[in-house]
């Protein structure tokens, strides 16, 4: 896929026909809520109070979490959040209020409280809020691409499946303990604004991880499954999109090799990085760095700013020429995929980095207007009905090369290096310059071949140095859609699910630390 093919925003809110066969319907109990009446009450009150813009969001989140420790279920907790929020622009100032009472009286009162917050905020505001135009979508609906809602699967089947996998780990030599966790979410959103857009949407996502622990004279060591969280349903645990049984079967041998592995010698190494590790490096050093709210300073006191400042748009040599990064809210099973964002903007795909040059940012409607982009690319998101929509990360992905190498071919191009698999520890500074990552497994590369595991490895770099050192990206067959449930940003803090696809990639002469040599002496 070339950058030219992706240069224009494309709307994909209309769902392709192949979804029709498997696409679940909007949840009846959510659709049965008085969505239209709540919306009418809040929006009419906002109009009466002189608001130039108003929007209503009714949201229901169902969340489940199970954790398992060795042979036992340790935590079994479900939760549900259902609420209503109103956001207004009053005298050019934002105001927001939220509550859980879904009555028309409450909706109207929220419009009043949103105006009150705007009034308290007036002395702190200099400019006037303007929003980029967006087409109106009346009565639009959208449902994500999953097959089986995990909330509709029998509890015994779910706990039994995870315990079965945990038992498989525990039965293997060298595994002293095993932990498993399972999380899944069923999300419904209704949105309406004064312009006439109203959308009703539904998403499902799931995550399962299993960790094996070895305890011995050496201390302890762990390794875990690489199965990424995904926008799928329970089918993910039963063979669609991932083979958990096959992966679990490999874990004990990998753990034993890790325990026996020599400690790495610090220095500069060529790295071949598997997507299960590289997705997180993309998230931290590209995903967050291309958020325009960070570049403009809105996150300066908390999440931080970005070295990729707005004046460098179209000029910054972010990485090597093989680096092509897209943002999207439309890829199948993407955690940030949705039909319409939380400002009523339809899903799109867009370029962030083309041929190594910074060419775009993630936007919401206010920033799109402020910086002259014409239209938002649909990156507004609120993690719950009680939180304000802010600019959040879409799926941000590194594109593979059409004629790219296999992972084995990338490794064969390395004389002295390390092949890194799986994410573990991550940290990056507040302008997204300096980062340090570890991983689940590190394999020594000697003269183009894997030569056993290493341990105590961390790689550390400055973002642009690292991406400019990327010599090659793998082909489409090496591409994996990774991701995370828990990207944090904003105050009050919000978490967002997001996916990152990438191929395997080859980096030259990256600084590798020996973590045993760090810290106290």
């Amino acid at each position: 896929m070339t950058s030219t093919e992706l240069s224009e925003p494309v709307d994909h809110a209309a769902q392709p026909d192949h979804y029709a066969a498997i696409m679940p319907h909007l949840d009846d109990s959510f659709v049965a809520l008085p969505l239209q009446a709540l919306s009418d009450a809040a929006l009419s009150k906002a109009t009466d109070l002189g608001c130039s813009h108003a929007e209503v969001r009714v949201e229901r989140l169902r969340l489940a979490y199970r954790s398992f420790r060795d042979h036992a279920l340790e935590t079994s907790a479900d939760s549900e959040v259902l609420g209503l929020s109103v956001r207004v622009v009053h005298n050019g100032v934002w105001g927001f209020a939220a509550d859980i009472t879904l009555s028309t009286d409450s909706a109207a009162r929220l419009a009043e409280r949103a105006v009150a917050t705007a009034q308290v905020s007036q002395p702190l505001t200099s400019g006037s809020v303007e929003l980029a135009d967006e087409e109106i979508y009346r009565d639009a609906t959208w449902v994500s691409a999953y097959e089986v809602n995990p909330f509709e699967v029998e509890e015994a089947s779910k706990t039994g499946r995870l315990l079965e996998l945990n038992e498989a780990l525990l039965s293997a030599p060298g595994v002293n303990h095993a932990n498993a966790n399972l999380g899944y979410v069923h999300e419904n959103k209704y949105f309406a604004n004064l312009s006439g857009t109203s959308t009703t949407q539904q998403r499902v996502r799931i995550q399962a991880q299993l960790t094996a622990v070895n305890v011995g004279d050496h201390g302890f060591a762990t390794t875990r499954t690489l199965a990424p969280p995904t926008g799928r349903g329970w089918e993910y645990l039963t063979g669609t999109g991932w083979d958990f049984d096959a992966e679990v079967a490999e874990i004990p041998e990998l753990l034993a090799a890790q325990v026996a592995a020599p400690s790495v010698e610090a220095g500069h190494y060529d790295l071949v990085i598997h997507p299960s590790n590289l997705f997180l490096t993309i998230h931290e050093s590209i995903g967050h760095a291309t958020e325009l709210d960070r570049a403009l300073g809105y996150e300066a006191a908390y999440a931080g700013t970005s070295f990729a400042t707005f004046d460098q748009l179209g000029k910054l040599q972010y990485g090597s020429g093989v680096m092509n990064i897209t943002g999207d809210r439309l890829v199948d099973h993407g955690l940030a995929t949705i039909g319409y964002d939380d400002e009523g903007v339809a899903q799109q795909q867009f370029d962030l980095i083309s041929g190594g040059i910074l060419v775009g940012y993630q936007l919401n409607r206010q920033m799109a207007a402020e910086k002259g982009f014409g239209r938002s690319n649909g990156c507004a998101y609120a993690d719950s009905p009680g939180h304000i929509a802010m600019q959040r990360m879409p799926n941000v992905s590194l594109q593979p090369a059409a004629d790219g190498a296999t992972t084995e071919e990338l490794i064969s191009d390395v004389d002295h290096g390390i092949y890194i698999v799986g994410d573990k520890s991550w940290s990056i500074d507040m302008q997204r310059y300096n980062f340090q990552f570890t991983g689940q497994r590190f394999f020594k590369i000697d003269k183009g071949r894997l030569a056993g595991q290493l341990k105590d490895v961390a790689y550390q770099a400055t973002t642009t140095d690292f991406w400019r050192s990327m010599e090659a990206v793998g082909n489409r067959d090496t591409y994996v859609l990774g991701g995370a449930f828990n990207c944090g940003k904003g105050q009050p803090g919000q978490i967002a699910p997001v996916s990152h696809g990438c191929p395997s990639a080859l980096f030259r002469k990256v600084n590798v630390l020996n973590t045993q040599a760090e810290g106290g002496q």
Partner: protein, 461 residues
């Protein structure tokens, strides 16, 4: 919301057919956020959440299920209870299963109404910020930050007769100032219960002084430096150690507190200096709800069977010696020890009397930090953490700040640091930087470390 929260708890207990604990969390919150000398977002939110943990006898033992839900009407209560009971009945036996907490004596006034907050709590702060923004513009500074006030009232009842009520006000102010070229940055945080003790003008003046320190820039390479960590930085490191203090993990050999072959490091000396690390739900100024109203803690201990359990003061490290780790009742019963539910505050003291300014005055050459950021675990065996310095690293020479230094990435273990601290300052009320979304109540001293490991340089400013 005409129905009272106490009535919701009673209704939940009345509709239960299994042993259960039910609690309602009444939460109100208000916030302001600003950047570049202007407001960016604001809000006022209200919620009411019912959480029910039910326990059921299943094949092989006892299972627990917890369901939490925002509820607007009393009619929704029974569905939450039923869902929790269904989760318990279809669950697997838990290793930590014990009978629910029996009733005991306490002084809560169950009938008292919920306490609340509103956006008006921040009105004076908003006016003060308006003035601060104008002054910042005149000084070519940019001001950023966040203020939040949250009040939660918990009503917890159990089928064993408990009726407990607790109120938790939580407030925080983070103020960040930068020069207009963004080359220098300064930060301070305040923890407050009501915002009546917040002086924005004084805080803004302190930040202005720190930005003045940055008028001279000094580039330093990575290395080991004598370093003064202020209370906010110490808090972030010690909170991470607190969140790791899981007794069962230690006994199983899988955290930094493990001593091997089933033993823990309880009784081992971590510091020669008289460093004490403790938590106390009744500590003046740091009061926190003194009974368990959660099903897991951040060290990953499960409290599913312990709802309503009294949370007592616990000394984790006593004058340098590890004395206690976190364990629930089930694990305590199996190991012949006491349960130690973790209070939501942390107090570190080392008999220090020096202020941070006095510690600066007593420094021949060293670094003075402001705070730490993006702290993550690199090696759980040693609790080796990595992270960045943020919002001002200053060079101290001959007792005075002489300029601002570049930022660094550090790799250090808070447990190993305890044994290398060479001086401890006076302990004071502190808002940590990184973890203040989750942990707001700390009293911490500044510390001097003779060889803090600045692993690499960060270009961030």
């Amino acid at each position: 919301m005409s129905v009272q929260p106490q009535d919701l708890v009673e209704r939940a207990l009345a509709s239960a057919s299994l042993p259960c604990v039910a609690w309602v969390t009444e939460r109100t919150e208000a916030n302001l956020r600003w950047a570049n000398n202007a407001l960016t977002t604001n809000g006022e939110m209200r919620s009411r959440r019912l959480t029910v943990t039910a326990t059921a006898e299943v094949e092989g033992g006892t299972a627990a299920g917890t369901v939490g839900q925002e509820i607007a009407t009393a009619d929704e209560v029974s569905a939450v209870v039923s869902a929790a009971e269904q989760l318990a009945r279809t669950g697997r036996p838990a290793e930590d299963a014990v009978p629910l907490v029996e009733n005991y004596a306490y002084n809560d006034v169950w009938a008292d109404p919920a306490e609340t907050t509103s956006i008006e709590v921040l009105e004076e702060l908003g006016k003060g910020l308006g003035v601060a923004f104008k002054r910042a513009e005149a000084a070519r500074h940019l001001v950023y930050g966040f203020a939040e006030h949250v009040v939660e009232t918990i009503y917890l009842g159990s089928s064993t007769g408990l009726r407990r009520r607790g109120v938790q006000p939580t407030g925080r102010l983070e103020l960040n100032a930068k020069t207009v070229d963004l080359a220098a940055s300064a930060w301070l945080g305040r923890t407050t219960r009501d915002f009546l003790d917040i002086d924005v003008a004084e805080a803004a003046e302190e930040l202005s002084t720190r930005l003045g320190w940055a008028s001279r820039k000094v580039e330093l390479p990575p290395g080991r430096y004598e370093t003064l960590l202020p209370p906010a930085a110490v808090a972030d490191l010690m909170i991470y150690a607190y969140w790791t203090a899981n007794a069962r993990d230690a006994e199983e050999g899988r955290n930094v507190f493990a001593a091997g072959e089933g033993a823990t490091k309880i009784g081992q000396r971590f510091a020669e200096l008289p460093i004490t690390l403790r938590s106390d739900p009744l500590y003046p100024g740091l009061e926190t709800i003194p009974f368990v109203n959660f099903t897991s803690s951040l060290d990953e201990t499960s409290w599913a069977f312990d709802g309503g359990l009294p949370i007592n003061a616990t000394t984790w490290i006593d004058r340098g010696v590890l004395r206690e780790l976190i364990r629930n009742r089930g694990h305590a019963a199996r190991t012949g020890s006491q349960p130690t539910p973790p209070p939501d505050n942390l107090i570190m003291d080392g008999d220090g009397t020096a202020s941070l300014q006095e510690m600066i005055s007593n420094t021949q050459r060293g670094l003075l930090l402001t705070c730490l950021w993006y702290i993550r675990e690199v090696d759980p065996e040693r609790l080796l953490l990595t992270g960045l310095t943020r919002d001002g690293v200053y060079l101290v020479e001959n007792g005075e700040v002489v300029g601002a230094v570049n930022n660094f990435r550090f790799n250090e273990s808070p447990i190993e640091l305890l044994g290398r601290i060479s001086e401890i300052g006076v302990a004071e009320l502190t808002l940590c930087r990184e973890w203040n979304d989750y942990f707001n109540r700390t009293i911490m001293p500044a510390i001097r470390v003779p060889d803090f490991n600045m692993s690499t340089v960060s270009q961030a400013s």
